[in-house]
């Protein structure tokens, strides 16, 4: 990891270096994923496995809004690139 910056010439290099690694993915609609990245393309369409999805649900109530998180697991997942906001290697 020490010399990662030298290997990253374009943004997609960062994603390429994360192949077969666990990544954190932030999606539109208050969703996030952690899982193993197997494939991606120029649209940032992705194939991930061993995925945990976290959905933030904000419900407006009279006494302020409450935030609930819902988690679910998927074995194998295709992610459409246009909903991807951020990809970070080394997901917790």
């Amino acid at each position: 990891m020490a010399d990662l910056s030298a290997q990253v010439q374009e943004p997609f290099d960062l994603v390429r270096l994360s192949l077969s690694e666990r990544v954190f993915v932030k999606l539109k609609g208050e969703r996030s994923l952690t899982g193993v990245l197997h494939a991606y393309d120029g649209h940032m369409n992705m194939i991930m496995s061993d995925v945990e999805e976290t959905i933030l649900m904000v419900e407006p109530e009279e006494s302020g809004s409450t935030v609930q998180t819902m988690k679910r697991a998927m074995e194998m997942l295709f992610v459409r690139g246009d909903s991807v906001i951020l990809v970070s290697p080394g997901a917790r």
Binding site: E10, P11, L14, S88
Partner: protein, 88 residues
């Protein structure tokens, strides 16, 4: 193509987006998304779609840090702006 942005020859201005992108690499930047979320970090590189790789990334929501990422890839379609935090 006549629609190519002509350089202002009278002032010799070098302020096109391409010039900015060349100058801003390695600098500390704020990347603001359309949603209002901010990312501050060191800009390692970017491409013509404004896809961005950031190092030492801090995610800000309503002015407070909510996440830190060692490295982050940000998909360009979400980007509202890239602003330099130091002079170019």
């Amino acid at each position: 193509m006549s629609s190519e942005p002509p350089q202002d020859s009278s002032t010799g201005a070098v302020g096109t987006p391409a010039d900015f992108l060349k100058g801003v690499i390695g600098k500390r930047v704020v990347v603001r998304l359309i949603s209002g979320v901010d990312y501050q970090g060191l800009l390692s590189c970017l491409d013509g779609y404004m896809n961005i790789a950031l190092e030492q990334t801090e995610e800000y929501v309503d002015g407070a840090v909510v996440n830190r990422y060692g490295d982050a890839f940000i998909r360009g379609n979400n980007v509202l702006y890239i602003s330099a935090m130091e002079s170019i």
